[in-house]
Amino acid sequence: MTSPLLEVENLCVEFSDDQGSVRAVDRVSFQIRPGQTLGIVGESGCGKSVTSLALMGLLPQPAGRVVSGSVRLAGTELTRLPEKRLRHIRGAELSMIFQEPLTALNPVYTIGAQMIAVLRRHEQLSRRAARDRAVDMLRRVGIPLPEKRIDEYPHELSGGMRQRAMIAMALSCRPKLLIADEPTTALDVTTQAQVLEQIVALQQELGTAVILITHDLGVVAETCDSALVMYCGQVVEQAPVAALFDSPRHRYTQALIEAIPRIRPQRPDRLPVIPGTVPDLAELPQGCRFAPRCAHADDLCRQRQPALEQMGRSHAACFHPAGNQREPS
């Protein structure tokens, strides 16, 4: 087994203002190996995007900061790296794409100018060579007529094409790790299918590891090797995708999978629901954070926080997990 490319250990992120501070990410740990795809799923406010921004060293300043824990990329500790060195790593070894490419792309420069700037900075290529590489990347992400499109501005491209250009830019320096935060959420289903296929194909070709952040369990099932499920800043379950969908352990994962509206031959009269709403991070329950919404919660759950434990092929933090017995590891 290859050694991990990225190791995240007990990562804690807090946001503070004059009202006090809230912990948006609480003791998150995971690893990812080269070429692997890891999904991070959860509902709004669960900490999935904050986790990715912390990995990139892009937490909004000065409100957000990593209070403890470590992030190691190929052995290099990132959390204490000076901004100058981090800037060198971002783009070259670690790259990110966002939900709305129009806000991530600079509207006053052409797609090509932005790609060439990145390539020249990180790879010291000549202008000519950088342009050739940029055209090649645009072609690989499925943009028709890349020699022409490279000289267009972001607003001239459709949503799907912009997201492809973003992917081309993010992968142009062949990073070891790509973080994709809801990359297809703003796209139509037919375009989403194209873009996801493109990410998977390029990843296989270039051997890039991918962290895919999404609220859509269907996207996770189709593209990821393994997944983390987050709730209120904590990892509640981590498992290979097959295990996650076949036998979810945490009661939240189980309820979430049941609640997905999916196309089925027989329509149920009522959709299964999770009662209540996600609690405010400033007013978290004392025990398991899912307990107030959980049908299986008892006094133990309301008083103590469960720790992540191995259950079969999964790890879950639940006192009353689904699936009858805890298999030995």
């Binding site: 709004s44 459709s158 189709e222 097959a242 196309i263 009269d269 996600v278």
Partner: protein, 330 residues
């Protein structure tokens, strides 16, 4: 007296677009281009399609929130198109709309009680005690407590705000509600709560819905009848079970195929559509879907397909595709 709550006949909404040198070129964007369908009493018509297909414009044209260019809309035997402003205002209480982002459609300066009271005062200027009773009743129907009356929209979560939007739509006792991406901004766990609420309201109050969404799984769950829209036209309409089990139009099949399946290992078998939706300013000649269609024939680039009814047992299943036209030689 017909059975349908809503009838839409050949509705069109064309927007003039000025552009080019000195704004002299006059193009026409056919956002809604000859759409016809019916919605039964206490039934839901699901309207699906990709962004820019005209589904939201269609919803707004039905309510005359934007004025349709031509065509007829009949709500419960009253023709809405052609009503003068006063008469239209009187009919508005029978048809309401729920929007995607409830936060943007609620006034931040008004308490929920004030927001709900406004349509009541407008359409039923009764006494204040009666209106207050009705506000409390509405909050109860949508599952918000009486205390919500004194609170402001920012104090609520996304799902609760959508309940406020629903309560406001119900305030005037409508017959028809047009829900435009009403649950799209909500998290999965909250989305199903709101969908169940809409189902309860339909059963309890006999409401008809036009449910506009890009999410095919949600549409399958809520609809009795489904219409698929592409570049301003309905390309297929059928009862929900039929369209999901036997989709006839290649575009419907591609849409269904593109939905991510929450079952690992099912990937890699699908038909992925190539290209993007063309600009509705210059739709392709012939069938508007032909440049992306995996089954396109030479005739598709030349002739606009007519609508064929494949329905059985009195249940219409209309599809606008040459593949199903017996007069087209394949």
């Amino acid at each position: 007296m017909t059975a349908a709550m809503l009838e839409v006949h050949d509705l069109r909404k064309h927007f003039p677009v000025r552009g080019g040198l000195l704004r002299r070129s006059n193009e026409v964007l056919r956002a809604v281009d000859g759409v016809s369908f019916e919605v039964g009493r206490a039934k839901t018509f699901g309207l699906v399609g990709e962004s820019g297909c005209g589904k939201s414009t269609l919803g707004r044209s039905i309510l005359r929130l934007i004025e349709p260019t031509s065509g007829r809309v009949i709500l419960d035997n009253t023709e809405i198109t052609g009503l003068d402003a006063t008469a239209l205002k009187r009919q508005r209480k029978h048809m309401q709309m729920i929007f995607q982002d409830p936060y943007a459609s609620l006034s931040p300066r008004r308490t929920v009680g004030q927001t709900l009271d406004e349509p009541l005062a407008l359409h039923h200027p009764g006494d204040a005690t009666e209106r207050k009773r009705r506000v409390l009743e509405l909050l109860d129907i949508v599952g918000l407590g009486a205390t919500a009356r004194h609170r402001y929209p920012h104090e609520f979560s996304g799902g609760q705000r959508q309940r406020i939007g629903i309560a406001r739509a119900l305030a005037v006792e409508p017959k028809l509600i047009i829900a435009d991406e009403a649950v799209s901004a909500l998290d999965v766990s909250v989305q199903s709560q709101v969908l169940n609420l809409l189902a309860d309201l339909q059963a309890g109050l006999g409401l008809s819905f036009v449910f506009i969404s890009h999410d095919l799984a949600v549409v399958q769950h809520v609809s009795h009848f489904v219409g698929v829209m592409y570049l301003g036209k309905l390309v297929e309409t059928a009862p929900v079970d039929r369209i999901y089990s036997l989709p006839a139009h290649p575009y419907t099949r591609a849409l269904l195929d593109a939905v991510p399946v929450a079952t690992p290992g099912d990937r890699g078998k699908r038909l992925v559509l190539q290209g993007d939706v063309p600009s509705p300013l210059r739709p392709p000649a012939g069938c508007p879907f032909h440049p992306r269609c995996p089954e396109a024939m030479p005739v598709c680039a030349r002739r606009i397909p007519r609508t064929i009814d494949l329905g059985q047992d009195g249940q219409p299943h209309r599809v606008a595709c040459h593949l199903h036209d017996p007069e087209i030689d394949q």
